[in-house]
Symmetry: C2
Subunit: 536 residues, 2 copies
């Protein structure tokens, strides 16, 4: 067979050639614009030509601090198309981490949304490798800034060559993209995406048995383009000639609902928080969402009740998926097998609320305390993944060995596997409670406690135990008006639901549970708080 590399540039070329009239609808800070793929292609080539003029060469990192819009999409293809590396920077990280990331990746140029300029202005003096700043703005004038040298994106494009030819000598295993993921401790860790990985991941997104992304779709990624390439959707959608709706910087539930209605979105993608917000909006407003065929949901587990509400009240089918920055990200996707379609509705919902089945092209292993787990939907183990769009290390980082061992990515996610091979995330390895050689899921206990009418929040952590190694202890915040609830009440409530040895050794009532900046329970702080509580 011909030795033709799989490259990102060829994906855009397909859209230019075969879908020149199809559109990208882009919401920026001031307007909604519509560009054809023919225009996007020319603008992308102009951008690549301008970057080359600025001195960007093959292998150089091109950083972006940007929302989901057409200019960001153009960088998605211009950088890899010219053999450079698209480095999407998570704007939600702390200034220290953003500084670290830019210096560690050695970004040569930064493309920055106008409203995100302050993030960089604050740290510009610590940036050691950046040679130029390009501001993405709808305005004709370059906004006031102390960044230098600074260029206007649109000005650069005007002067550049729309006939720029993408690099033809690209090794498919070379870097096309980069994204840093936060670590539990220390600096963020960089993941490098190859051309090959992005193309194969795009196939995996477009299979009839996965997200079935198609030319006929109108795809709105709400997941940010600075987060695991917006789950690879901009790449795959462009390749297929799919209409894209990029919702820009303000993606409030109201604006999303409006875009779904006016742009007749067929598939959209985001984390559960987004869908919780949208659900509230749908319940208060009056929107036509009948165009939607799939709400792709990942990042963390979607509550069953939310899935049920979307499907029964709004006829918007949910598509639950699992992945992480290290996995490009698609790993599993939850669809019923052909012979499961006759199950009772509620049972089907329970299957579909799990994280799903491994997509074609990857391998997985689930390893528990005693080796690979049984596929019984109960035994827990850590999920290990292998495949051509899975990272093999962190970029220039000696923490790689923790996660990458023997050719497998150790995800740190604890799952069970049912007899159909469908996985369900039950915990993070670091939060799991290892008691007497068996594993207890902190998440299962938390969910059970939070289903009690008196409980506002609950977090379950492990404390060291001489005999059992670790034992669970529950930290509970009671709802107002339920202050009389006792430890015994809650234990009684848990008893029928769990094996006896799963029950927490103690329940500690707190005023509040310490949280991370994105609202997750800060279990490390909690463990410190209760560690001397109960050592037997």
């Amino acid at each position: 067979m011909m030795n033709v590399p799989l490259t990102v540039g060829a994906m855009l070329e397909r859209a230019e050639k075969y879908f020149p009239k199809k559109e990208v609808i882009s919401r920026t800070s001031s307007r909604i614009s519509r560009f054809t793929y023919k225009e996007i292609g020319q603008r992308t080539r102009r951008l690549a030509s301008a970057l080359e003029t600025l001195g960007i060469a093959q292998g150089d990192r091109v950083g972006t601090l940007a929302w989901n819009h057409h200019r960001h999409l153009e960088v998605y293809f211009a950088a890899p198309g010219m053999g450079a590396v698209l480095h999407t920077i998570n704007i939600r990280l702390s200034p220290e981490h953003i500084t670290y990331i830019i210096n560690h990746a050695e970004d040569k140029v930064l493309l920055i949304d106008e409203d995100l300029m302050p993030l960089i202005e604050r740290i510009k003096d610590q940036l050691t490798t950046v040679k130029a700043f390009i501001i993405m703005t709808d305005k004709d004038e370059l906004p006031n800034t102390n960044l230098t040298p600074v260029y206007s994106y649109e000005d650069l494009l005007k002067k550049a060559d729309p006939g720029y030819e993408f690099a033809s000598d690209i090794d498919e295993n070379s870097a096309a993209g980069m994204c840093y993921t936060s670590a539990t401790t220390g600096s963020p860790k960089g993941v490098v995406y190859s051309h090959r990985g992005i193309v194969l991941h795009s196939y995996a997104m477009a299979l009839a048995d996965t997200a079935a992304l198609s030319e006929t779709d109108r795809c709105m990624p709400v997941v940010p383009m600075f987060h695991a390439n917006a789950w690879g959707l901009p790449f795959a959608a462009t390749w297929l000639g799919t209409t894209q709706i990029l919702p820009g910087p303000q993606f409030t539930p109201k604006l999303l609902a409006q875009l779904i209605e006016t742009e007749k979105v067929t598939i959209t993608a985001g984390v559960p928080t987004i869908w919780l917000g949208l659900l509230n909006e749908l319940e208060s407003g009056n929107y036509d969402t009948s165009s939607v065929r799939a709400v792709l949901c990942g990042g963390s587990a979607a509550p069953l009740g939310m899935i049920r509400a979307y499907e029964t009240k709004y006829n918007m089918p949910f598509l639950h998926a699992y992945g992480m920055t290290e996995t490009s990200p698609l790993v599993t996707l939850s669809r019923l097998k052909s012979y499961q379609t006759d199950l009772p509705e509620e049972e089907k919902l329970h299957v579909r609320a799990k994280q799903g089945l491994l997509v074609p092209g990857l391998e997985m292993k689930v390893v528990g305390a005693n080796g690979e787990v049984a596929w019984d939907g109960e035994e827990m183990g850590e999920l290990l993944i292998r495949g051509p769009w899975i990272a093999d290390s962190y970029y220039n980082d000696d923490r790689s060995e923790e996660a990458f061992k023997d050719g497998w990515l150790h995800t740190g996610d604890v799952v069970n596997v049912d007899e159909e091979g469908v996985i369900k995330i039950v915990d993070r390895t670091k939060d799991l409670i290892k008691s007497g050689g068996e594993w207890i899921s902190s998440v299962d206990l938390e969910n059970a406690l939070m289903a009690h009418e008196a409980v506002f929040e609950a977090s379950v952590v492990a404390i060291p135990h001489q005999e059992w190694q670790e034992r669970p202890i529950a930290c509970v915040v009671l709802k107002e008006g339920y202050q009389n609830t006792t430890k015994e009440d809650l234990l009684e409530f848990l008893k029928p639901q769990f094996a006896k040895w799963w029950l927490p050794d103690d329940i500690v009532f707190l005023e509040e549970i310490p949280k991370t900046s994105v609202g997750k329970f800060l279990k490390r702080a909690l463990r410190d708080k209760v560690k001397n509580h109960l050592v037997k």
Copy 2:
């Protein structure tokens, strides 16, 4: 990203792990059997283990002479799984060509259907590399044969290891399969399929925008497994856990119609001849074909009337595709773009009757007399293809240079391209008439002539011409009772349909048109017959 190779063995492993209960329904000479993928997996591993015992090593060619059934499917995965090469032999070739192919590929072992044994018994003394013959039969006893050493497939499996592990050190660019294609002159030419090519081709078959092959399908390939891997369907279907219906040695229209009804086939694939036969059967019988969602049709152009009949009378959607042995084979597939769905029905049918749009992952170029053609649906040029599942040469064959030039496969097919990028085959390059620097399609003239009530058959060939280089001449066989039709009658009939310079310089009436063994016009013989007819 991890350096994980794309391999054929991993495709079967996916079916074994995630779809062990799904079935392969196999029609052999004596019965219909049902095997789960779990069973197919174990039988395949037994086969690989048995082949190893017989001395087959990595890189060795494993020849098959077999119809579409479960045992052939097992060889499809056993040979590549162990690092050997599946060589499917076209049983319809002459004994001389079959001998050439087996010796040229250096097959070490042949797996032969019982009813095809005579093909090999006749030539066994000319085979220079074959060390063993394995007979695939439903019977308990090995049939009488003079082949030696000879083994029974089922006997070998009984004694072999169902836990055989597939090779883990396979280079994805190494050979997984081989197939020879007939040449216009001389011996057949060998095409080698790599593991990488087969996996990527399987993705291409399973996209929502192509054949959308899915786990939910019940797939019946009628195209033989000895012909371009049955268009790659057995590989893709196994990977996805699709139910397969393999129709075996007797695929009469009646048996196919019965299988469609009883096995609720959703997708089937074959050449137009098969579908013409099935159409007759459907019109005379009374079959329930409501399960069918796609009739995949390729190999040669399907007549518009047939497509219309299938869709309007039987509600069986046609899916027209183009490819060749050298291209794995999927190259284009005819689906409407999203904005074409509002076209009038007849116009849509005309679009869908073309060969369609290039599938994601390939590149094409159409080169005419004056370079790349305009996309106007008229200008003709030769179709050139490039991509990771396109052959880069013929196996050990100095005729490679004719077809593979500058990194492109020169298909020898002449096409036009409409403004949507959809191709339509209009001729073979060798049959095209090059007149005064312009091209004339022999096929278009033939089709126009055959639409005349008096014409039974028509074939148009080029004859040399001093001034115009070549000019068309039509050879016509009249229907009985129309012997009074004149050359002038036919030219008058053609005039309003073509530019003046397209009209044949002469029309020659013949008793019959010489044909190849498969019923195609033998234009070479025809050219010889008329070459001195008209040289100006």
